[in-house]
Structures are given as C-alpha cells and as structure tokens.
C-alpha cells in the first residue's frame, strides 16, 4: 500500500515536470546557438553519407560529439522530416520555423523518459531508515524531487536546449545498476555514454578503478586490501569485450574508412582558450581574477608598464587564447596534471574499497576535480557533479550540507546563460523553488541545520550579487564601459563556493580513508 502511494507520487512528480517544461517552452521561441548546433547535426546526418559526417564544415558548428551521438541524431532526423523538411538541408544555416522548434523541444522532452526511468531506479537503491515517515519526508521522494526538478537540468535542457536529460539519465542508470550490484550492465551503460558524449571521460578513471578493483577481484582480504589470488580473468574479459564491442559499434565505420584522426581532431579541439567567454566558476577563474587584480594593482603602483602588458581580452568575445599578465600562463598539460593530482584520492578505493557508494563518492570527486582544473570547462559541467551527488546527499548528513552549498552556488552560476528580461522571472522563480525545497526537505530529513553561519551568510550573499548584477549594475554608468563586470563578479563569487565544496568533499573522502585505517589499527 505504501509502495503504491510512492509510485503514485512519483508519477505526479514526473508529470509535473513534463507539464512545466511544456508550458515553459510553448511561448518562448528562443534561438540559442544550441538550437542551430543540433539542427545542423540533424541536417548533416540526414543528408550526407557517413563518410562525410566528420569532414563537413559548411557551418561553424561542426560535429564534435562521438559517433554514437551522430547515430542518435540520425535516428531523430527520420522523425524530424515529418515536421519540417527544410531543417534537414545543410545549407539552411540558422534556419528556424515553429515546426522545427516544436520538434526539437519535443525531442528533448521525449528523450527525458530515459532520465525519468533512471531516477526511479536510483530511488529504489536509496537506503531507507527505519521508522515511519510521512511521504514527503521519505528519502525516495526527496531524491526524486531533487533530481527531476533539478534547476540546472531544467534550465540547460529545456530553455537553453541540450540533450542532457537523456545523457544524465544513462549516467544515473549506470550508477543505479552499480548500486544494485549489476556491474556488467552498469559498465555497458557507461561505455555507451562515453560514446555519446566524450566529456564523461572525466569520470572514466573512477569507473575504471572501481570495476577493476571491486569487480575483477572477487574477494577481499579481511583487512580490505587486495587479494591478488582472487583475480577473475573471466570478468576482466567480459568487461573488456563490452568496451571494445560498443567502441567498435560506434567508431568502427570510421576506423574502417581511415577517418579516425579526423574524428579525434574534431572531438578534442584544443585550440580553444583556458576559459570560456564566461568563466566557469573553477580554480582558473580565481587564478584569472588574481592575475587581473595584480596587474591593475601593478599599473596603479607604477611597477608595471601598461604598454608591455598583453592586450588581453579574456572576457570580451568568444573563445580566444590569451596570456596572463603576471602569473605564469597555463597550458593544457598543466591543467591535465592538476586534474590528475586532484583526483589522485580515488586511489583510496583501490586500497580500501567501500562498495558502490565509495565508487559514487569518487565519481563525484572526479567530476568536480575535473571541473575545477580542466581546460575550457563549460559551467554546465557542474551538473555532472551535482546530479550523482544528490544520491549521496539524501543518505548522509554531512553530504547534505556539502550538497546544499555546491548545488546552490553551482545553479546560481548558470544564471548568466539566460540573460534576456523575459527569462529573468523564470530563472529566479525556478531557482527559489529548487533552493527552498532542497533546504527545507534535507533539513527535515536530517533534523537540524546543515550549514554553519558562515556558509549561510555566503549563500545569502548570492542574493546580493544577483540584485547587483541584474538590477543595479545595468542602471549604472559603467554598464557601457565595462560590460563584463557582472559576469566576472558572478564567476568569481561562485568559484569560491565551488572550491569550498570541493575541498570539503575531498576532506570527507580522506577522512573516510583515515577512519578505515584507524579501524584497522
């Protein structure tokens, strides 16, 4: 009877989300660049033969996702031709019509079914506490609400337009399978995901180490360390064959045609700069800020010559290379080293595996670490850390505190993605909705305040930043001379919060490792 009520509420939540997204999109015929990107890919995959897919560059938005995604777009294009044939012509750059937009929006909503199913599976795996709770306080319900109504996902997918619901659905489903102990399925799903969007390479190390350690070695010693004798070659071969077969399915045709280098060059364009035009709130944003501050200070104190400073334009314009003025410049290899150093902690699951939950924690640390130190990170990538972290947040009090911090700042950092006046009430309302819900539900679940006063003050400061950037600054005289200041302020302020959450998460992981060692002694 209880399960029935839970299922009913789940359906209510899902339908609520679907209906909300339909209402939101119906009137708002925006045209972000992502629309054009995906329209172009529909056109390329539909109109051109496979051999031309990764060579085509009529439009600047070339195909830069792995082949499985191209096949996905190909199948979508067969449905698209019933809506509007004109969108499938490659030459129709920036083509738009109500039917096109309707189709693209609907495709996101329909593919979200994967996400909805994945959330259901995750909720099933959530550990329940004993004792009767009313429905709204049940972890199952809270997790479902936090995932389905995730502000970042709603904004990025349904307003800004991407297929993240679909992709994160596969990721969460893979995590759920691991939590349920069905590792082969989880591995299969992750490989499929990797072949759909290669950004998930960031978390591949966590998968790799976990599967190798917990799946290929069937038993542990009593103290938790590796029992080398229990290595199971069968399992390793099974995993390997899954990875290879999926890879062959997706990349195979291109390898056969000898196009692999071209595909790889499209997938990994390193010519872009350290930061996006709007700095993602990571370590490099702080680094840039310090650099700029020092240079301004240096010019004021007459220590530096203005003419000698590079004509940097880090924030004005699209993706460009730039040099730092005072601090050493950062190259891609440096970011790689920093990222690897930051996620070194995940070797802890090699030494002391903590089952699927430890793996999940490492996955989040991996995602967040690569967000913090990566090259040309987009602020949307914060979702890769937030969504899996929600599962941990409903199970432990400390995680809930870190989650609230990370999620609020991460979501706020997405605000500059929607900059028109029409979108302002929507993003403010949805943000308030999600933040209010996450705070009150987690507070009720763990019976007590989850944040210390300093953190609360920081989060309240976000309100001040928002008012400053959206209301006060545009009316001030500096709006025309320095239009990038609101973006700068938002980015730097949020990176403080994100860095802080990362450090706390890291510390919690190390502390777990430490307690294990302590228990041993």
């Amino acid at each position: 009877n209880y399960k029935l009520t839970i299922n009913k509420w789940y359906i209510v939540l899902c339908c609520g989300v679907v209906l909300l997204t339909m209402t939101v999109f119906s009137g708002y015929f925006s045209h972000s660049t992502d629309f054009e990107v995906h329209r172009n890919w529909l056109a390329i995959t539909h109109s051109l033969p496979v051999s031309k897919w990764y060579h085509e560059n009529t439009s600047e938005w070339t195909l830069d996702y792995p082949p499985l995604f191209a096949w996905f777009e190909y199948s979508l294009s067969h449905v698209a031709q019933h809506f509007d044939k004109e969108m499938l012509v490659v030459q129709n750059l920036l083509y738009t019509s109500p039917a096109t937009i309707l189709f693209q929006r609907l495709s996101v909503i329909v593919t979200d079914i994967v996400f909805i199913y994945a959330v259901k599976e995750c909720c099933r795996s959530v550990r329940e506490e004993k004792g009767s709770k009313d429905l709204l306080g049940h972890p199952f319900f809270i997790l479902a609400a936090l995932l389905l109504w995730n502000f970042g996902l709603l904004i990025v997918d349904h307003i800004h337009f991407q297929y993240n619901g679909f992709l994160f659905g596969i990721l969460l489903l893979s995590v759920a399978r691991h939590l349920q102990g069905r590792h082969l399925e989880g591995a299969l799903l992750f490989t499929v995901l990797l072949n759909l969007k290669h950004i998930y390479l960031y978390i591949a190390p966590a998968y790799g180490i976990f599967l190798l350690r917990s799946y290929c070695f069937t038993e542990d010693n009593t103290d938790g360390s590796v029992r080398w004798s229990s290595f199971s070659p069968v399992r390793l071969v099974a995993l390997g064959s899954i990875v290879i077969s999926v890879g062959a399915l997706s990349f195979g045709p291109f390898i056969a045609m000898g196009q692999l280098p071209q595909v790889l060059s499209r997938l990994f364009p390193f010519k872009r700069g350290l930061c996006h035009a709007y700095w993602a709130p990571n370590v490099w944003a702080l680094y840039n800020m310090v650099d700029k501050a020092l240079s301004v200070l240096g010019v004021r104190l007459k220590l530096l010559d203005v003419a000698k400073l590079p004509k940097a334009s880090m924030t004005g314009g699209l993706v460009q290379e730039f040099q730092h003025s005072i601090l050493p410049s950062v190259s891609p290899s440096i970011t790689l080293i920093c990222t690897l150093l930051s996620i070194m902690v995940m070797l802890s699951i090699w030494c002391r595996p903590r089952g699927a939950r430890g793996f999940l924690r490492c996955l989040v640390v991996c995602a967040l670490g690569s967000f913090m130190f990566g090259w040309h990170v987009h602020e949307k990538a914060i979702l890769m850390a937030i969504l899996p972290f929600s599962i941990l947040a409903v199970e432990s009090r400390e995680d809930a505190g870190i989650f609230l911090m990370l999620t609020t700042t991460g979501h706020y950092s997405l605000f500059p993605l929607l900059f028109t006046a029409a979108e302002l009430p929507i993003k403010v309302l949805l943000m308030l909705l999600f933040t209010l819900y996450s705070f009150t539900s987690l507070k009720k679940l763990f019976r007590g305040s989850l944040l210390n006063p300093l953190e609360t003050t920081y989060l309240l400061g976000l309100v001040a930043v928002e008012i400053l950037c959206e209301v006060v600054y545009p009316l001030s005289p500096w709006q025309h001379t320095m239009p990038f200041v609101p973006l700068l302020v938002t980015s730097v302020y949020c990176s403080l919060g994100v860095c802080y959450s990362f450090i706390r998460l890291y510390v919690s992981l190390l502390r777990q490792h430490g307690t294990d060692k302590h228990k041993q002694l």
């Binding site: 909300l20 939101v24 009137g27 306080g137 309302l429 949805l430 909705l433 209010l436 009720k444």
Partner: protein, 498 residues
C-alpha cells in the same frame, strides 16, 4: 515539512506557471486596427495619464470612445494611471497620447505582463493562502493542496496572463471580502467587496449573496439592538467607500450619468458571439434574438435571472453561515451568467472563483465545473493563439487536483452532500470521465478539423452548448446542495469524523 515552506513552494510553482503562460501571445496581437484587450489596457493607461479626470469617460477629440473607451468603474482607471506612471519612467513612448496607439514591442509586453504579475502577487495570491489556512477544513497537507489547486486554475491564468486582463484584482478583492467576512469582520469585508465592485462592475453578480449574508447577519443579531447598529455601520462603510472611489466625479451629476452609461451599455443585445448561457443555446433552436424585441428580451432575462437566484438568496438570508455564503456565491453568479443580459464568456470566472473555494468540500463537482469553465472559453483561446498553454494548464490542473484532493477515491456519498440521492454519485463518477473525454475530443476537433462550409461556427457552437449543459446541471446540483443542507447536528458529526 513546515507549512510556510510548502505554501511558498506552491506559490512559487503557481507564479512560474503564470509567467510561463505570459510568454505566449495576447489578445489582438499583431491585428490592427483594433487589436484586442491588451491594446485596450494600454490605451487606458495612455488616456488616464494624459487627460484630466473629467475627460476620461467622455467622447472628446483627444479621447475617442469608439476606440476602446473606458467601460470599467473608476478603480480600473486609477490602476491604469498608476501603471502609466511606471510606464512613463521606463519608456515614455508607451503612453504618448495618440502616438502610442497600437504600440507593440518586446519590452512593452514584458512590462504589461509584469503589472499583471505584481497585482496578482499583492492581491489575489495572499487572499488564496489566507482562505486556505483560516477558512477551509482538513489537515495542513490538505490546506496546502487547496492552495496549489486554486492557484493552478487554468481559466484565470489563461485569461489574465494570456488574453490579458486584470481579473485577479477584482476577484482577489472579492475573495478578500469573503475571507474577512468569514473571520467575522463584517465592516472590513464589505469594504473589500465595495472596492472589488468599483474595479469591475461584473462583480454585481456577487453582490446579492454579500447583501443577503450581511442582512441575514443583522437580522440574526436582532433588528432592535446590535443588528441595527451593524446594518448602519455597513451601510455607512459602503456609502463612504463609494464616495471615495467616485470622488473626482461627484462634483458633476453629468459625470456620474456618463460613467454609468459607459458601465452599463443597454443598447447592445441579449448576447454577442457564442456564450455558454441559456439565450445563446436557445438561439440554436429558436432564433429568439430576431423574434423578440429588445425590451421583451430584457424583461424575460430579468425575470428568469431573478427566479433563478431567489431560492439561494432566501436560504442565505435565513441562515447566514459561511458554508451557505460560499454556495450562494456560486449559485447567484452562475444564475446571472446563465440568464443575464449581454454576458461575455469571460464572466464564467465570476462563478469559478467561489467554486474554487469549494474544492476542499466538494472536490469532484468543483473540479468538473472548473474544467468545464476553462473548456467553455476554448474558442477565445484559439483566437488568441493560446492552444498549447490551454492544453498544458488544463492537464496540469486535472492531474494535480485529482491526485491531490483524491476526489475520485474518497468520493463518498457523505461528501457529495446529496443526502438521499446516494446512487447518483457512482453515475456522477462515470459521467465525469466521459465528460472530460468528450471535452478533449471536442478540443481536438476544434483544432484539427475544418468546419463544414454551411456551418462555419459549428465547433464554437458545440463547445458552448456542451458547456452550457454542464453549467445548467451544476447549477441545479449546487442549488440542491445549498437548500437541502442536512440539519446542523449531522454536519457537526461529519466534521468530527473527518
């Protein structure tokens, strides 16, 4: 979870739905020369800002009454003046005399939508929250669900934020009147209602229940002593409020006459367009509009309206309780809608408001009525290009209200308050599903199919007749509920068992 957070979440959700709908098209978008209600509101801002008060309702060279002349009472004019001042600060082009006619722009649309949202947030939404928490019965969860369902009522959202009107102000003030009266502050309640009446004259539909309720209360307290005192207090409040609202016009009787003339245009016929009321539906069978003279039409309409509202009003007069009051509001406004003169389809919002208040007590009939009322306005929505919001908000409302209020599961014969008519509720359940399916089917047909050449108005007519049958049936039902109310002791027992 605590109440305040749940309520805030519901309110935020309601606001999001409202703003999302407001991103759609509005009445008369891109349709010169007359445009639609949106242009009318903008024009009123222009007129009230630029012209002196004594010219607002008169036909002058600067104020052509044929182009959306003011035809609402003074409070609407003052509200337009307030909005115009704000508009002038942002962009003076929006209210330039003559030059701004037909002005349509992205920024202006955002401004106008924002004014509706602000008014809603300040007046209607607090009233809904207060009503649910202080005047409705049930657990806290049920009260929060009531807030959500009332806020999701599609008809009001689509008309105010889609078609573009300010119904939330007049309905909100009327709701404040109900809430305050329910809390026992009669004078303040009558003040709120008079303000509401001075915003839109259609609130007259609600005036008889207010009158009967207050009069009944005075009678109950004894006309010799406290009752008379109360009566005098209320009368004085009403008169003073009217005087204050009409202050600029009181200097000249000609002004008052002209305003009244604008508010009640008796020159027009029995009905315009397709409305889901008796006369329009009757017109399908007998062309009464052409057979009878205007005076006879007026006479017949007046008589039938009075006959329809008589039972409910008398019952309320004899027994002025909150429950009777709510039902009388429904019965009176619905009777006016069905039988009155020159009714517009948007007037269905007037009975819809008190029916929203009954969501908690009589879930199934209330949801049925509210959905039928939204459906009855479908031709208007199609004309305004609001099809997708209509579909989505109706689905959302049905979904949430049915699940949250568990209308179909806990629909016991007690709750339907039909007393001896127990078997009917099962049939009612099946009829509800059939009706919703029929509405969906008719909606689909209105959009997808083209009407046959000899009957170009087929689908609007079908929609209005279908809705009319619903309204008539529900009018009978609500009247029966109000009049055949079980004796006091039975109701008290039922309250205990809840």
């Amino acid at each position: 979870m605590e109440n305040w957070s749940l309520v805030s979440i519901c309110v935020l959700f309601g606001l999001t739905a409202r703003w999302a709908v407001s991103l759609n098209s509005y009445s008369g978008a891109g349709k010169p020369p007359m445009f639609g209600d949106y242009e009318a509101q903008r024009h009123w801002q222009e007129v009230t800002y630029n012209l002196p008060v004594h010219e607002w309702y008169f036909n002058t060279t600067d104020n052509n009454l044929n182009y959306w002349g003011l035809d609402y009472p003074p409070l609407t004019a003052y509200h337009s003046l307030l909005c115009a001042h704000v508009a002038k600060l942002i962009n003076p082009d929006w209210v330039e005399l003559h030059a701004s006619r037909g002005h349509e722009s992205y920024g202006h649309k955002l401004f106008m939508r924002a004014t509706v949202l602000v008014a809603d947030l300040l007046i209607y939404i607090p009233a809904v929250v207060l009503y649910s928490f202080y005047l409705s019965e049930g657990s806290n969860k049920k009260k929060v669900c009531t807030v959500l369902c009332i806020l999701l009522y599609p008809g009001l959202i689509l008309i105010d934020y889609g078609h573009f009107q300010y119904n939330s102000i007049s309905l909100g003030l009327a709701l404040w009147g109900v809430v305050v009266l329910g809390l026992g502050w009669d004078v303040l309640g009558s003040l709120a209602f008079v303000l509401s009446l001075n915003y839109k004259q259609m609130e007259l539909y609600h005036s008889l229940p207010f009158f009967c309720y207050l009069l009944g209360k005075c009678f109950k307290q004894g006309l010799a002593g406290r009752g008379l005192f109360l009566l005098v207090k209320i009368a004085v409040t009403v008169l003073v409020t009217f005087a204050l609202c009409w202050l600029p016009f009181l200097s000249d009787p000609g002004q008052i006459l002209q305003v009244v003339h604008r508010l009640f245009p008796v020159g027009r016929g029995l009905f315009e367009d397709k409305v889901a009321n008796t006369w329009c539906s009757l017109n399908v069978l007998i062309k009464i509009k052409t057979i009878l003279s205007t005076d006879t039409q007026l006479y017949i309409s007046l008589t039938t309206t009075l006959l329809a509202i008589l039972p409910s009003s008398i019952k309320l007069l004899m027994k002025p309780t909150l429950w009777q009051f709510k039902l009388a509001l429904v019965n009176s406004s619905l009777a006016f809608f069905l039988f009155s003169f020159q009714v517009h389809e948007k007037s269905i919002l007037l009975p819809a408001l008190p029916v929203c208040l009954l969501l908690n007590d009589l879930p199934l009939p209330a949801i049925w009525f509210l959905q039928a009322s939204t459906f009855s306005m479908l031709p208007l929505f199609l004309k305004d290009g609001l099809l997708v919001p209509y579909v989505v908000t109706s689905l959302a409302f049905l979904f949430f209200s049915i699940y949250l209020l568990s209308a179909l599961e806990h629909c016991s014969e007690d709750k339907l308050r039909l007393g001896p008519y127990r078997q009917l509720y099962r049939i009612g359940w099946a009829l509800f599903y059939f009706s919703i399916t029929a509405m969906a089917g008719l909606s689909f047909m209105s959009v997808a199919l083209a009407p046959p050449a000899q009957l170009p108005d087929l689908f609007p007519l079908l929609v209005s007749v279908f809705s009319y049958l619903h309204f008539l049936g529900l009018l009978l039902y609500f009247n029966i509920v109000q009049i055949a109310e079980p004796p006091q002791s039975v109701r008290k027992n039922q309250k205990k068992s809840n």
